[in-house]
Amino acid sequence: MAQILTLKRRTVSTGGLSELVRSHGLTGLVRPASAHVLRSDGVGERILPVLPELRGLFPAGGLRRGSTVAVALRGPGPFGATSVLLALLAAASAAGSWCAVVGMPSLGLVAAAELGIALERLALVPDPGPEWPSVVAALLDGIDVVVAAPPGPVPATLASRLAARARQRGSVLVGYGQWTGADLVLETAGGGWSGLDQGRGRLSRRALVVSRHGRGAAARPREATVWIPRDPATPPVESAPLLEATA
């Protein structure tokens, strides 16, 4: 790049690229190509961000495009699967990705908005009917994160076909319920509500414990805790500074 610029202006002084950028007021616009892919926290084009508390559960530091994640309905803890799903989508949606949820008519959307999910970028197909695999496949073409909540157990062939389509299109497929063959499985590991007394108080917060297991790098079980409602001081997506143009 510096070569091409010197052809146009012979009077480039010493100091190289950074001097040229500064002199033309282009600071912040011109970045080396590596900065585009890798931010300081590893999140870039190929990886969608997740909440800082959950980052330790993902080997890539976020949702890798083309991967399949499953959220199990029952884990060591008896409840909390919906909150795990919403926590999974929160950061990616807040950062600008489009999400779609297929087959969950009773999703609590106010809770989704409170966690940081952008409702204008969330599409819902509450009743897909028996054709839900084709609906999910059609959505994988254009939506970044697609959540599929099938009414019953999913045959392994169907699950692998949808996973292959997600990999091909670069979208993230999240299976909610009994899903086989996912790269990573998230489960609830407990976490009760606090704040209610006998006739006083109200539900104020809970510590949602999320555990993961899966294939490959995610085989070792790990746990993380998400407080709901989240601490307002930590935003869903950390805006890491881009690497500046250095000489």
């Binding site: 919906t82 609590g108 908005a113 409702l119 599409a123 959505l139 509500w193 006998q198």
Partner: protein, 527 residues
Amino acid sequence: MTRMMVVWCPDWPVAAAGLIEGVSVHEPVAVLAANRVVACSPAARVEGVRRGLRKREAQSRCPRLVVLEHDEARDARAFEPVVAAVEELAPGVEVVRPGACALAARGPSRYFGSEAAAAERIVEHIAQACVVEAQIGVADGVFAAGLAARTGRLVEPGGTPAFLDGIDIAALDRPELVDLLRRLGVGTLGGFAALPAADVLGRFGLDAALAHRLAAGRDERPLAARRPPPDLDVGQTFDEPLDRVDAAAFAARQLAERLHERLAGHGLACTRLGIAAVTEHGAELYRTWRHDGLLTAAGIADRVRWQLDGWLARNRAACRSGYQPALVSERRPGAIVRLRLYPDGVVEYAGFQLRLWGDAGEERDRAHRALTRVQGMLGPDAVVTAALVGGRDPGDRIRLVPWGDERPEPAREPWPGQLHEPAPASVPREPLPVDVFDETGAPLGVTARLAVTGTPAGLVFAGPPGRRAAAVVEQITGWAGPWPVDERWWAPDEVSRRVRFQVCLADGRALLLTLESGLWSATGVYD
């Protein structure tokens, strides 16, 4: 400059309401849009009701005023038979808007002898066929003829600029431009026409330049008309014949977006739109719509939807009556199988035009394409997006809007009685019936003074009546409430008096319970 004849039906929204809803138009009737009067019947005008008044003001001037909401689809549907009646006497009728249509004056005037005779004959025929009052104006150009039709005048050839000279500038029907020109001191069409054309184009833009040509009574062929590339029309064949209005609206929107994209891709905009349909019986329907400005994407979609509405209404009416009439125009056309849009009067326009669905963005486009594909598979209501509106319970605070429809504005006002965050993560569509017991085993209730009749101790999820005996009693470890809500006490059918509780069960689950009319239900699960 071609002599054009415009057929204008005064107070068309009122007449359409009279034809379709059966409201008597001899009574004082007013049609309102956004709380302002859009059209009123002559009886209402006598009492002092005018266009632009608010509803309350109009009702205070005329207490027995019948008030109706404006429905553009109803206007278009009712106008379709009028256009069909005019087409029987003269070919090449173009619809300007519901209530006004235009045709070339040369053919009918030659056939019936003179322009005045042709005008009389057409008005008589419309009155006989559709029981609708109409007036005709003739002048050079559609814009001037439309203004002439207000007074039923036949402007002599070449006298159009003089006719337009003294007319108020509000006749341009472009509120922002008219407001601006008024403030600059230009109050009449003559004054506007006196400005130099190049300056108007440079200062106000292309749409105003078109208006300037119209105000001068000049040739209304669009500026810089060029030979359009041949493949600008778009079409679609439907696997299932279109018979219902909502399916037609959906198809109209999709085609309109495709056409607009294609035109914008070539840097063009159109001022006339040809809509052609082929029905299942093989009948071919065609109608041209013209606009005296540039047609935006929303404008194209609206016109296609209105036209389909009109054709389908004719279908439905013929089905209902069940007999085979002799007139070709009244014979039932059938459901629509193929639809094609032809843009005409194209103008070079490279300016940024707002797309049908807001700002462009690559990810949004991709998502939009995928979502419309699913809508095509399952129907337009199957794909929804959520919007936060005002309400007290988690289920009331969300409104589901089909994808592609306008989202409501988010609520900004405080709602006393709204539940505090965090909201339940799972809100069942139908509340789950439960039974709540106190420590003695008796059902729990809440007195009128909002006192609980005992301490909540156990809860049973009431399943189907046969399995009730085997249901498990969950123990309640913590509870809070009652939080009362008394909504819409002024409307007996919609009144809702209920109290809400939050309970925590022994296994750690938390529920939002509602007690209404003595029945307990779980309206939220803090999953």
